[in-house]
Subunit: 432 residues, 2 copies
């Protein structure tokens, strides 16, 4: 059993600097808890001169972090660079091939190359740990791998992106527009200067893919699946949702249906009294359902240097305690091979908001298209926007995705439709 | 590294039978995940002839389970007998002394003898694991020991008893009396035939003591601390609470205040919109606050054979994977020695309900006692019960526990007071 570990930290931004500060401050505590010692032998970042909380010793500096993979005095690399390609990719592949443990917060990398990386880690008996990649400080990955190991999990879903949850919460609270709130989020540091991957659902896509693989013991399914963001949602939708006792949340969802993986990312109308409806601002929440445990919920801060550091330290602790585990909790060879559920067969209720010209025949045309598509209406609301336009809000009865998509295509072609139709899936109590 | 483990299960009631059934059914899965094999070599229970889901092989039967501690072909004992004394105590002490791993759901035993047991386990390098003792299926113990290991935790609190939470939820929902709902709970199997230890707070006392020790890295504080149950609460209180936007929950709370442990169990009025207010029926929920993680919440079923089995299997998994950890996550020698906070110094708002004779001078006497005790009133409500009696409901401003206790003593002495005064502490947003 190894009892001294040489560590390198690559990436000293907001999170990397905090991890470094934490390790320097809590060295003795960690060593006492783990019965191992460690030293930080190398540090690397794009810019040595950038102002950081603590000063960086020049002796530890390494210019090209990829050189670390061959260094004898490196056992553990903490990768906090990010991105699925470039330095992060070279570093992590190289490190695992050279039998060095990896700790990373890099969801894009794990999503894209997790299968290959897991194989290398398993073959070389090193750890590839990524607790910080999903849910910030929420210890969901270790929980699924170790604490829920005895369960057959059939459903995982949750709010996995703090930026979009903050935006949706703030729009509702302040009654301001999407655009105004996005600006505010950027000023507060809750949204990136380019917030595209948060808003379009891509961030959640990586995260739910990782969780799905952990829960259902499959390789990461690198096939396209339904991923929608919140770009089209505005105050108006949130207000209408409220009128029908719903809140709008961006959810990542994966479940086993007929031995297939039904995975998707989309905004959802959920009942205002449901557990997830009450998760506000930058918080994340994850629900896991399985047998024999039943349902379990985790909630906490989904991002930020504090929660992320907590997760990185948890991973480091496992390594210092000489715990070795397969990256996804199962041997790559035993991964289940499950097909993707054809989402066109999905059924749920749908919320539709249309901006249409206020003239005779419009309503009749729309209802006729819906009726021909086999979609029946549960609630209907018409509200004039000005002398020329009206908002139509429709809540359907249970309908099939394929038919809704067909109907929306037909309705969109009508000249009286003035804006992109907003369609949001509804979760009733029992079904997502 | 050991790769075959001999297991004995002692106690084959509701939970023990389920664990046995689970292990038989999932043997191959568990062995593949852990890279170890196991066999169940002994079973023991009070009554061999009792009807169980699966039949018990007589070959595995051992009459006196305490004999197991000396058996060479036993590595792990799963103790599901319960109780702090008797067989469970002898078995667990004996097993650890003889270098056998213990998995237990026995909160009373860990609360009473956890310090001694942890010392023996640490000395003999065996595991003493008790995930199932707190929070049913919620993996709170492993989470604190491993995932939150990098945090300085300063506050843990939650709903830790499913029976009392079910009763409080049902009284509110059905508007029936405490007594009627208790009967219902017993019929449904949510309350024991003798529900004393659930109702009087003792069950939560053991649980919050265990959690407090894990979080604050102290020995279990075997000193008396404030423990109140829900026996005195009735529909009337739940209705009044609602009127002031509160719900009543039985909480276990422990926090660090001025380097002292402020631990207690009591019912609490909490705001109807707070996270815990929404945790209903037999669910448990646990909040942990620490640095750098911030606040994290766990929620799930607090009891039952399914969730408990999930926790037992998680513990077994750790052992089969050759993970060795100190029972409370730290070495017994390094346990912090913290004093108990003097609860008489606690401040909060208080809810008081008095049943008094409806005659002149009563109100003046009560308000005079409160005023002399330095307690000021925030809300006051008087409601006639019949021609002779009235209910008085008082919500105080922030007050000191010692003064409230003094005032209650003085008021109780008054002849016009007809029943035991109900006093419930109030949690406002920032303070418990």
């Amino acid at each position: 059993m190894k009892n001294h570990f040489n560590i390198a930290i690559v990436g000293l931004g907001n999170i990397g600097s905090e991890v470094l500060r934490y390790l320097n401050k809590n060295k003795k505590n960690i060593e006492r808890t783990t019965n191992s010692t460690f030293s930080i032998n190398y540090l690397s970042a794009r810019n040595l001169k950038k102002k950081r909380g603590s000063s960086i010793s020049k002796k530890l500096w390494i210019k090209n972090p990829v050189d670390l993979v061959k260094k004898k005095n490196v056992d553990v690399i903490i990768e906090l660079v990010g991105g699925a390609e470039g330095i992060a990719k070279k570093l992590v592949f190289g490190a695992l091939k050279n039998k060095k443990h990896i700790i990373t917060a890099n969801k894009s990398l794990i999503f894209k190359y997790g299968n290959q990386l897991a194989q290398i880690a398993e073959k070389n008996s090193v750890n590839l740990l990524f607790e910080a990649s999903v849910g910030g400080g929420i210890p969901i990955i270790k929980s699924i791998k170790e604490s829920l190991v005895g369960n057959k999990i059939f459903h995982i879903y949750g709010i996995l992106n703090g930026t979009t949850n903050f935006i949706l919460t703030e729009i509702e609270k302040t009654k301001k527009s999407f655009k105004e709130i996005l600006n505010k989020a950027q000023k507060l540091g809750y949204a990136e200067p380019d917030p595209k991957f948060d808003l379009n659902g891509d961030d959640v896509k990586s995260k739910i893919s990782i969780l799905s693989s952990l829960c259902f013991k499959t390789a990461i399914l690198n096939k396209p699946f339904l991923t929608e963001g919140i770009e089209n949602i505005d105050l108006e939708d949130i207000n209408y949702a409220k009128r029908f006792d719903y809140k709008i949340k961006l959810l990542g969802i994966s479940e086993i249906v007929n031995n297939q993986v039904k995975i998707r990312v989309h905004p959802c109308l959920i009942h205002k009294n449901s557990d997830l409806a009450k998760v506000n601002s930058v918080n994340n929440a994850i629900m896991v359902e399985g047998s024999p445990i039943g349902k379990i919920v985790y909630q906490g801060l989904g991002a930020g240097k504090g929660p992320t550091t907590s997760s990185v330290i948890s991973d480091l602790n496992s390594i210092l305690r000489n715990n070795l585990s397969n990256p996804f909790g199962f041997s790559y060879k035993s991964a289940r091979k499950l097909k993707l559920f054809d989402f066109r067969k999905h059924t749920c209720k749908y919320y539709l908001r249309l901006s249409v010209e206020d003239k005779p025949g419009v309503l009749s045309k729309i209802t006729s298209i819906l009726s021909k598509s086999g979609i029946s209406i549960q609630n209907f609301l018409q509200k004039p926007v000005n002398k020329m336009y009206s908002s139509l809000v429709i809540i359907t009865h249970l309908a099939v995705e394929k038919r809704i998509q067909f109907a929306l295509k037909m309705i969109s072609k009508q000249k009286f439709v003035k804006e992109k139709i907003v369609m949001i899936r509804i979760r009733d109590d029992k079904k997502l």
